[in-house]
């Protein structure tokens, strides 16, 4: 696999790697992909698993008490004004 492709995956995964780590990944990936490739030739006849639920069995539209704001924010690395805080997002 191309290093650029690994870099793209790292971006999708929001992970950073050093050059050495990237190269190690490239070799791991070759092995992982060859494992995954085992299913490529399987004759599956278009089967797919689809577990379903009837519309009538879904959750009724009723409200329940929410958690207190304090609990919601309890583990936040940074919280102010009853909100989670991140550096200003520029669009």
């Amino acid at each position: 696999m191309e290093l650029s492709e690994i870099k793209h995956l790292a971006e999708l995964s929001k992970l950073e790697f050093s050059q050495t780590e990237l190269e190690a990944f490239a070799s791991d990936f070759a092995s992982l992909v060859s494992l995954a490739d085992n299913i490529k030739n399987a004759d599956v006849k278009g089967k797919r698993v689809l577990q379903s639920i009837k519309l009538g069995d879904l959750r009724k539209d009723e409200t329940k008490k929410s958690l207190p704001c304090k609990v919601i924010l309890a583990n936040a690395p940074l919280a102010k004004k009853d909100s989670f805080v991140v550096p200003r997002v520029v669009e």
Binding site: Q51, S52, T63, L67, P68, L73, F84, V86
Partner: protein
């Protein structure tokens, strides 16, 4: 050069439900930050979504109101991307099997094809302040329906006016169907607009430019006009349209390209393994169809054919469901559709549009309209009276009596005045008897009306006067 304009719309509307789409927190606007939140909508570790039945039913109803086919199996997928308003770093949405497919909406003389309506969860709200962004997940998980027009099929929307008509009608239908309130200032209805141009007659599509998250019909109208002009100018100069997303700056009245992402978005959609596919039966669809309240087109037909209202009056009344409902409520008390409609299209709407709110009870309004119809109050004084009691909770009848504005021709009161006027103006009476001039008669009527301070009906005073004078 002449161009064909092709406009596509993606319209998001927050559904009217008690609880959120995948948890039991309140679906409520305006609460203080992070108070309508639970493990599910904040995406805490271990939390699992549980689909709200009514959200699915509301989506089906929206689809039925717009003539959609309803998929008998609906699948929910995860749309994966990182953003602080998205607590789980994926949005639960629908890709492969949305609830509604293939609908259409009549816009002026065109049936605009619509590809789909799917159900998804809204994201949280970001508030930017100074160097920080504050994240509030109250809106996170609110059920949202996304409608996507099918710009690949004919006919296309081609102008800002058509797009606005589409949105206006869509909004009206959602409101009438009871699926969404669509309050624009609360962001309950938002639209993304795609615009592409191609040389007139060409079959190939031009490059699409997307404008995201437009709120308010004025912005949308202006943004579309601006974008069409912008693209035209580029093409006329022999330039190329960049495929990009642009943001509309309402204050400046222009759009600018948003920072393009380094990599094209790859949302890695896959069926959400926490949720089951939903089976929708023919019975479900039939039941929901039956539950749909009358929709604007149907009501319009009734107003015009049964009530005999003009198309203009009908449209004016139906434009706002609150007004239309009030109209029906008044009609139930006093079945005179035209008479009530006259008051609605003038006095009532003028006040509501002027921002005074619907400040009168149906009982008071109907009493007043009826009193005018029965000539118990002069139309002019009734209008003044309505203005006076608007926004108060007085009883119209007793208030009118107390103010002495009720006409009362049968009483001695009017006759007394009549006699008094005839006596005081005896010379004029003599003149009339001689000349039989209508103008003189009208002068006498005016004198009586003046004395009654408008409480009498001029036509009837005239009749009575003629009687007295033996004509």
């Amino acid at each position: 050069m002449q161009y064909d304009v092709i406009i596509g719309l993606e319209v998001h509307a927050e559904l009217k439900t008690k609880s959120k789409c995948f948890c039991s927190c309140k679906n409520e606007y305006g609460s203080s930050p992070n108070t309508n939140c639970c493990p599910v909508c904040v995406g805490l570790p271990g939390a699992l979504p549980v689909l709200n039945k009514f959200a699915v039913e509301q989506t089906i109803k929206a689809g039925l109101a717009l003539g959609f086919e309803i998929n008998r199996t609906a699948i929910f997928e995860r749309k994966n991307y990182f953003y602080p308003d998205l607590s789980k770093a994926y949005q639960i949405s629908q890709l492969e099997k949305p609830i509604c497919i293939n609908g259409h909406l009549r816009v002026f003389d065109k049936d605009i094809p619509i590809n789909r309506i799917h159900l998804e969860e809204d994201a949280g709200k970001l508030v930017h302040s100074g160097s920080e962004t504050f994240v509030d997940y109250n809106r996170g998980g609110v059920p949202l329906i996304e409608l996507v027009t099918d710009a690949l099929k004919e006919p296309h929307m081609e102008s800002a006016d058509e797009a606005i008509e589409f949105l206006t009608k869509l909004r009206q239908i959602y409101i009438y169907a009871g699926v969404a309130d669509c309050e624009l200032e609360k962001g309950q209805m938002r639209a993304d607009v795609n615009i592409s141009l191609r040389p007139k007659g060409s079959k190939e599509f031009g490059t699409k430019v997307e404008m995201k998250n437009l709120m308010g019909f004025k912005s949308i109208h202006a943004a579309i006009k601006y974008e069409i002009a912008r693209q035209k100018e580029i093409l006329d100069d022999g330039g190329k349209i960049e495929q990009e997303t642009r943001k509309w700056d309402f204050d400046k009245g222009e759009s600018f390209a948003m920072r393009s992402k380094e990599n094209a978005e790859d949302y890695r959609y896959f069926p959400d393994p926490d949720l089951l596919a939903v089976e929708i039966s023919d019975e479900d669809v039939a039941r929901l169809k039956k539950s749909l309240p009358p929709l604007p087109d149907e009501i319009k037909k009734k107003y015009m054919s049964e009530y005999g209202l003009s198309e203009y009056d009908t449209d004016v009344i139906l434009a706002d469901k609150e007004i239309a409902d009030f109209y029906e409520a008044c009609l139930a008390l006093y079945p005179q559709p035209k008479s009530i409609a006259n008051w609605f299209t003038t006095e009532v709407l003028a006040r509501v549009k002027g921002g005074a709110g619907l400040g009168i009870s149906k009982e008071n309004l109907v009493w007043l309209i009826k009193a005018v119809d029965e000539k118990k109050i002069q139309r002019l004084s009734a209008k003044e009276f309505l203005a006076d009691i608007w926004g108060t909770d007085v009883n119209a009848e007793s208030e009118a009596k107390a103010r002495g504005i009720m006409a009362d021709l049968s009483s001695d009161f009017v006759f007394e005045i009549l006699d008094k006027v005839l006596k005081e103006k005896s010379s004029v009476v003599e003149q009339f008897k001689r000349e039989k001039d209508e103008k003189i008669l009208n002068f006498l009527v005016g004198q009586v009306m003046k004395e009654t301070r408008g409480k009498a009906n001029a036509q009837e005073v005239k009749e009575k006067l003629k009687e007295k004078l033996g004509i």
